[in-house]
Symmetry: D2
Subunit: 437 residues, 4 copies
């Protein structure tokens, strides 16, 4: 298409004061030729105003250095940001790191995995987040009905499913875990990322890699044998029992350790809590350091330290996705989208994490060529919990919330579920208006 005919793009970033924002800005600058951004609106809540200013000013310095005609707006007015946007990204944390700390602490006290996106912690993150996301959706339906919402907010699968079920907003959920696997593969086999094609079966934070084509060759058996001296940092087969992997015929995502190695992970969490505090507390310290860097007015680019933050490549994933939706380049990305016909044992509107071709009309999922029998039950069990928790979040129904908690595979009994539910509802009370009307 001729340059002068190209539509210029408006992006609204909900949670724009996040420490991840500089990576996103870098990506948009580097990808300007592919997709010209005319307006970038960083929006945050009153409580996050200070961070928004620090990050937003860094963003402005980065854009200025690039010489590109991108307007950067900092605002607390969400509706102004959304008005007429082409893309709305959401990266937020309802209750901030304080709430996350509770999500990690409370389950551990009852001998249950305490984690941000998995188990009772993930459930409560969903209960807090979904009502806020749906409010944002109401704004998008009104002010930018054609916009795509790119959701990074965890638990990304559940949040995306809630949007699909309870709004008319076009949405895609994103996680950096699949892109990290691709980068590992490319590095391990010394080939460009475009030459690797792993196949993911499952849902967000609960997937299995069941095939991996590298330069047109299936390398899964080689990966499962684990013999190759991979050069990459994050070898996805490390820490797993080799005999188990062999008979599984698939590589589980890291998050599956909470299910397959529950005892070990629980012990590690308890030990780590004693040593460093919860993960929330660790992240809190890292963030503090990052914002000190960002505040330095001589800084005009994304600092290297951001890459160690844990969420590496999130923004790369986001920029790629926006570009493909914008240009219709039909490349393959691993995304969280509605199940449709893919898994016949899951509802059509359940969110799944899967390879998609990203067309200008949206992502189209690619049915995995092989779904191992072994994993169907666990996948269905976790998705059942997720769907119950989503409905509970929207309705504020305690009975549904109890059923969700009871049927989570990591919760050992009804009695524990009841204790956890009561204690966590009370602890997060101020963020759960649906439950306390």
């Amino acid at each position: 298409m001729k340059e002068q005919n190209r539509k210029h793009v408006k992006i609204a970033v909900i949670g724009g004061g996040s420490s991840y924002t500089p990576e996103l800005v870098e990506g948009l600058i580097q990808g300007y030729d592919e997709m010209p951004v005319s307006e970038l609106w960083l929006v945050d809540i009153e409580q996050g105003k200070h961070k928004l200013e620090i990050v937003g000013n860094l963003a402005k310095r980065m854009v200025k250095k690039s010489g590109l005609p991108i307007e950067v707006h900092l605002t607390l007015d969400r509706r102004a940001a959304i008005q007429g946007a082409d893309f709305v990204t959401t990266q937020m944390r309802v209750g901030l790191l304080e709430a996350r700390k509770l999500d990690e602490h409370i389950p551990l006290r009852h001998g249950v995995i305490g984690q941000e996106t998995t188990g009772p912690g993930g459930m409560f993150k969903a209960l807090r987040t979904i009502p806020v996301i749906l409010e944002i959706c109401r704004d998008i339906e009104e002010l930018a009905p054609q916009a795509w919402m790119l959701n990074f907010t965890n638990p990304a699968g559940m949040v995306t499913e809630a949007v699909t079920k309870y709004s008319r907003v076009k949405t895609v959920g994103l996680c950096n875990s699949p892109i990290n696997f691709k980068k590992f593969l490319a590095e391990a086999f010394g080939t460009p990322e475009s030459r690797v094609l792993p196949e993911f079966v499952g849902i967000n934070h609960l997937h299995w890699v069941t095939s991996a084509l590298v330069d047109g060759k299936e390398v899964l058996p080689e990966l499962l044998r684990g013999k190759k001296e991979y050069s990459a940092r994050n070898v996805p087969t490390l820490g797993w029992d080799p005999q188990f992997l062999q008979s599984l015929s698939a590589i589980p995502t890291y998050y599956l350790k909470y299910y397959y190695m529950t005892t070990e992970m629980l012990n590690e969490q308890i030990a780590s809590l004693e040593k460093d505090g919860t993960r929330a507390e660790v992240v809190s310290r890292v963030e503090k350091e990052l914002f000190e860097l960002y505040a330095d007015e001589s800084l005009e680019e994304k600092p290297k330290q951001l890459e160690q933050r844990g969420g590496a490549y999130y923004s790369e994933a986001a920029v790629h996705l926006m570009q493909s939706l914008y240009t219709g380049r039909n490349d393959i990305q691993t995304l969280n989208v509605p199940n449709g016909v893919i898994y016949d044992f899951l509802p059509a509107d359940a969110s799944i994490e899967i390879n998609c071709v990203v067309t200008a009309g949206g992502p189209i999922p690619l049915a995995p060529r092989h779904v191992p029998q072994h994993i169907k039950g666990l996948l269905h069990a976790v998705k059942t919990y997720e769907s119950l928790a989503i409905d509970a979040a929207v309705s504020g129904d305690r009975g549904l919330a109890l059923q969700a908690m009871v049927h989570h595979p990591l919760v050992p009994s009804v009695s524990t579920a009841k204790l956890l539910l009561d204690e966590m509802l009370e602890a997060h009370r101020s963020y759960l208006p649906n439950f306390y009307v």
Copy 2:
């Protein structure tokens, strides 16, 4: 049909030396008008010869007293018993109570539920039993291809599924749990059994009652409230958390306590082990007493004590089923049959426990009017384990066995699964020829 035209029936009872046999004989005598039995073959293995003789002689005395022209044969020759049979029933215990003791003991030592039909114990019972059942099927395919096999052998769902998948024998699996629920309902509401219709969702030893019609009225809400002073002995809502039952909107079978109240059940098992030994040891004592009674040559009827044995109404269920298959009376019975189209999230050949109309052509399942969202994941997870374990039993593949064990919801980690698998394979080695070729 005119009496003289009626086909007279030959029944072969595999495991005929079982302590349950007198109940079956009583049922056949009482139901003679409905279905005339001409030959009853009680067959057992060399090791069970002594019991077979005691039970068989009691059976002969019972028949003699009845004055009916039923021939009772005692034999160790399975093929002679099966030859031309109309019905073959299987009620056996590969490895006898000694093996059951191991199934109950070993998991408990690793902090896992030790139970005859659920968890690792049930899995090993399946591994031992399925190859023997399939040998019997080979005989039936050859010697009585039109016969129905009525399978009582536990784990009844898995054994029945194995027969469906790996043989051409027509089979139905039977459990006394649904018939007990019907009897409770009838007694509690003071109405005949024919006027109650509970709806069962699930599989053997993992079902939920989701509706209960009594005299044409839905009484589930009343049952869940638990207010009525039921007169029956075994009130199925006792012991459950009332708040949990309310939001579940269903009554779980007793066996679901192993899943929903894992911690409590584990503690109970450990306490009970210390006090009485395993359940296998308790049963062993009860059986000893029964056989002493049976051996009394003046006894000509089923002794009352048998009803306390735990398997009450098994034989009533069996006799009813045979009669309905024989006469085509199209009544409703709760049976273990292939899933077909009933649950769209389970394979067509998975065995399920469900209300069926029993026609002369076999049972036809009745799709439940409502399958609660809540329970789909757990149901799928347990069925996945079952199918893997069945395939492992047939193939002797240790990798499959490991996957089955790992994906059982009651097994907490791959490491525990491996320990259990190794120890239990070794303990049952002599009964697992497929694993030790």
Copy 3:
């Protein structure tokens, strides 16, 4: 249940002036012990007032002769009739026989089958009838929300599906074709009806019998060979090509001749039209004679001549269904109910005609044990047309109506479909308010 506790039943008959009513009244009288009727409301429209009085007075004489305490009400006030009813039956003809004549005439003029329930004629009967039925449903939802609606109104499958999709009324559709088949089987094999169990696959007026158990024996092969000298009047295999039946492995319903023997049926219709006029005209003469009989004040019972009317056993079917819903006797009846999980290639809310167990909670369909591959496409094609036509009836959307007509397997081309649609819409204009707003 004790007599004094039994609920006495109110029945509203919409289209009570129908010539079939005496059969229904006879059935209710004969079945009084099973289900005591206290009120029978015959309701009709102004145009049918004369017939209503004739039939109604015969009904009163019949009840009087029986000596039973059944009140018979004749009314034009539909709401009074429905108020608090336990059962509402609908047997009506929107546009009367005049409209039927057009349904039969117009398609024939374009070389297309002209039939009351099949093809374009059936489609227009649905377009006229569905809006009226849904008005009745609005009344039932308000005035008798617990009532069962028994729908006899043709095209019964489509009308029933419309009620399921567009109202909250509990409904079952009824046709006499399956009951006729059972009567044929029983007569041919000299056994009571309760001893025969044919299996029906398909939808109303488009089903195949794929199995027939008589006294517990499969007799389908024998029927397909057609060798037996059946004594019954209506032998269902007559007129079919034997070679075709053999390879079909099923007995098609008579109505399938419109699909499988289109040329022959068309020729027969044209010949018959010349000789006797349309079927509507024949029926018109028969009805005239019947009403002359009914008007005879000395008549106190259903006249024999009614049995030749073509709709024999409709009322038997209706009375049986009401009794089973009332008593919960769990017998098997062949009914039009929502598909649910039965045919995985049809929508869950599509109506199908199928064996059901009739419980007090409603009918539960029995999945056919075998669905022949051969017939799936035709079945899906006709159901697709039906669903489109139902949606067209409700919306008055001409585009949908065109798609329905085009995709009817008996309509040869888009151009014919357009001609037929335009001509028939115009001809029935006064009965199609949704299309002429």
Copy 4:
């Protein structure tokens, strides 16, 4: 990948003497950089030896002119050609144009569409072709088990399905119809082919375009309105009733005129037969002229006249597919592949024609975003016929063949089906060994 590491490719062309071969050779030459071909084996049967030599020598001259190191082999030894091949393409006509003439003539005589791939003609082409294709598969299974078979042989959908069901050969079916639609779109909107993405719903020669993205914009409504003055030759909306297209919300393939405009097409066929003879006879004349051109030893390139042959872009499609399988470039192509989970109303192993991402591991189908309700019935009906015909071809079962013929939507009655079947079986007797053992 580095050049020296690239695998060089061996291609076997079954039916190498076809007039299409020069186009294929041109494509392989032009695409050499993408996929280096070392050996091209043109294989034909004794009867086609003369044509093979003419075409083969032209192929050799074309390669020589290109200067590329491609060996061209001409042979009658199919096994030598297949041995170790990477790709086997099949483009053949069992019974040659003589048989096609019968396929077109005989049905017309009975008032039924006479066409090469649709209706009874297509069915008999399948009956003749499938056994020969499966013989070739036996060779591939033995001599080149890793090869991909690219099947162009019509009826391409049925032949591909037969290979999937009855062999272990990896196969893809190809038709030029989708690629022609893409070229039309690109030309009409003045954009490169890579910027258009139509969505195809259906099966080979029976598909509907339900969406068309051009430069990221949905243009289907514009196409259906047909207002634009498209510059392209083959406007796919020409000849259709505009009102019908509007309510269909999709563009049917040309072949659907046989179903939607049966009367018109039949009249056209009869008229055309009188004027030019059958299509087979027309093609015969065109082929004669082409071979005269090919025989000219001064000709070193594909002659322009070939493009008018009707099968334009077949070879482009083939070369693109081979390249994508070779390089794993993950582009989107419209192919005939097994249904898998895509259409839940069709069997998993039914062949469908659908957009696929072509990976190095094979094509992965993209589930259409919208499957119009309207067309499901017709699609299922034709696929049912196809599956029956395939099974008939393999088994030689006349009953199955009759059921296939009867259930083809274009065959009006069982009696016509029987006549057609008998006459066509007899006419093609020498090519139907399975039916005449």
